[in-house]
Amino acid sequence: MKYPCRAQLVKGVQVTTAPVRVPDTRIPEWTGFDGLVQLISVDGQRTVGCPYWELVGDVDANQLRDLYRDMAIVRRIDAEAMALQRQGELALWAPLLGQEAAQVGSARALRHDDFVFPSYREHGVVYCLGVDPVQMLRLWRGAGLSGWDPDVHGIATPAIVVGSQPLHATGYALGVTLDGANSAALTYFGDGATSEGDVAEAFGFAASYVVPVVFFCQNNQWAISEPVRLQSHTSIVQRGRGYGIPGIQVDGNDVLAVLAATRLALARASAGEGPTLIEAVTYRMGPHTTSDDPTRYRSAAQDEEWRAKDPLARLSALLHTEGLADEEFDRQVESDASAVSAALRAGCLAMPDPEPADLFDHVYAEPHALLQEERDAYAAYLAEFDEGA
């Protein structure tokens, strides 16, 4: 099983670069659209009349199937990681179950030179950017603090401190502007994160400097046990408007709508129009993490309600009713997913533990007297045991 590497991204849905797809002249019109962007209804019908359709006019049957396959594989990776954690192979896992469309749809809108600042739940985005899923598990297994090279894949190591990453994306985007480049930075964060001062400061800096950054908020209705209403009595897109940042509220379980909205936001960024805030309305179908017990704070009824809006079921229905997919396709996707999860499990079990000496590496980029001293002392200490033995 191969994974698309950064270079290969020049093929497929994700390279449809916004400048080509999105004529600058039309941007204000689309940005001005008010209301929830939805292109595929909950029961898998194409909605009519939404101007965002034009933003995904190029998405043909093959690409629709690719999007479905991505979501199916990502869901399987998530399920396998949950299983590995239950079996004690991972210290923790934050499942994305239910957020596949929000993640795949937005990731597939990225151009090859965009850069992403994710939170800890964006496994689907990481996958779409060509990271070997095994590497995703590394920090959750405790075998390391990160898993891949941010520059190779165009995506930073996930932020665990809630709300810390939008400022990094804003600064990166400022750098893009100073370089005179026309790529963008895109950052993911949750509904709970919108309460953190750092996120507000990121909105402020981005709006003040008019930099090419996309703030992608996955409003999955919950911040651990706290419902989104505790964070805000207004919709999250409205937050951005307070800074003059246009907001797009999109059905986060509709992969096409998310793709369209993200393409628009990236196009705005490249057109020099500054930041956009996207609120992808979705649902965290699983626990916050493997340590969480949602039955303590939310109702089965709400879970039910959202299960009916499942992002995969929706696209699958469309593909089948429109005759774009058949049982053979489903079997193929199933076997692709199985292959990925098998490789994931094998890779996880084969992952080496860190060596004691690694502990002292990369604290500083340049030599550091105290650290060298502690490294030597600890090595000598460990050596005494070997002698002892």
């Binding site: 210290a91 923790l92 800890y120 920090l139 959750w140 297994r141 405790g142 075998a143 390391g144 603090l145 665990i160 401190v161 809630v162 709300g163 709970g192 994160a193 309460s195 953190e196 001062g197 750092d198 911040a223 651990i224 046990s225 706290e226 505790l230 964070q231 340590s291 303590r296 704070y297 533990d353 860190p354 004691p356 690694d358 502990l359 002292f360 604290v363 550091h368 105290l370 650290l371 502690e374 600890y378 200490y381 005494e384």
Partner: protein
């Protein structure tokens, strides 16, 4: 007397404090229905209502800053910071406001705030969930910093911290939450003052000073040492600001040797303050230099390497041995 875990003892202590004083309110992320990620506030919102056990928006500076306002209105807020690594967004409110308001107002304003922080490593967690930031707060004048090492102290000290008219940063050794102990929950409050250190085990050759999660490790080390014929005294500091130097000095006068252990990085950690002051005050009593054992000058590592970062009984005993053959 009843037997309970440290986590449950803290829960009972909080309950007792809330029953005792209607002005005590709890604030924090996920402390209501969920009962906190460690369940320390379990059942309290159910029993005291959501006006006394308040789930806050996800913003630590907001939690502490609003608690300051509540305190100025006459309340006694107890704030929970979900993990050690997430107290930093509130650092400005803690250092520039909580710690200084009483001084700034020349005593006309009091800020009887308690800030609960589960701290330390050893639980196999991801980054930012295993830190030991106590030295930052101990170096900040205006704050009191304490940490219980066992259930009995957890039950008593949380009530003493809440009753104090000073702001108290209350560190809870998260990897000990599940360790059980005898708690005097029917008797009166202990008369051991909050700022007093206690000798948990007597010995006359070497003193080990520890606090929070390292106390159990120190006791374990002392037990092993005894088997090897070395008599070790173990002191649980309990209070990190102020530090009970009188108790430490008395012990060092007896043993002439001191090892200080904590999880935080040794460089600039509280062990430095203890070693500096004891080396000064017990200059003519020390048979060997004060030794420090603790974390390295690195960030907290990946959990599969944490056993190397965290001092264990062996590393403590290594320093004990060095004290005995300087």
């Amino acid at each position: 007397m009843s037997t309970m875990s440290l986590g449950k003892a803290l829960n009972s202590g909080l309950r007792r404090a809330m029953e005792h004083d209607p002005k005590v309110v709890l604030m924090g992320e996920d402390i209501g229905k969920l009962g906190g990620v460690f369940r320390v506030t379990e059942g309290l919102q159910r029993d005291f209502g959501d006006r006394r056990v308040i789930d806050t928006p996800l913003a630590e500076s907001g939690v502490i800053g609003t608690a300051v306002g509540l305190a100025m209105r006459g309340y006694r807020p107890v704030c929970e910071i979900q993990f050690d690594g997430f107290v930093y967004p509130a650092f400005d409110q803690i250092v520039s406001q909580v710690a200084k308001l009483h001084y700034r107002n020349e005593g006309r304003v009091t800020v009887p705030l308690t800030i609960r922080i589960p701290f330390g490593g050893g639980v196999g967690a991801v980054e930012h969930h295993s830190e030991s930031p106590e030295a930052y707060f101990a170096h900040t004048a205006g704050l009191r910093v304490v940490t219980p090492s066992n259930a009995a102290d957890g039950y008593r000290m949380i009530q003493q911290a809440i009753a104090s008219d000073d702001p108290v940063v209350f560190f809870e050794p998260k990897r000990r939450y599940w360790e059980k102990g005898e708690v005097d929950d029917d008797g009166a409050l202990s008369d051991v003052p909050l700022e007093r250190a206690v000798v948990l085990r007597e010995g006359d050759q070497v003193t080990i000073a520890a606090y929070g999660p390292m106390v159990a490790t120190a006791l374990h080390a002392a037990h092993i040492a005894e088997g090897e014929g070395t008599s070790v005294e173990v002191i649980d500091l309990r209070s990190l600001s102020p530090i009970d130097f009188a108790t430490l000095e008395a012990s060092v006068h007896k043993t002439g040797r001191l090892v200080v252990a904590h999880e935080a990085s040794v460089f600039g950690g509280l062990g430095a303050e203890i070693a500096a002051r004891i080396s000064e005050r017990c200059f003519f009593h020390l048979e060997a230099p004060v030794r420090r054992v603790g974390g390295f000058a690195t960030p907290y590592p990946a959990s599969r390497a944490e056993d190397h970062f965290l001092p264990d009984a062996d590393r403590i005993l290594h320093e004990v041995d060095r004290c005995l053959q300087p």
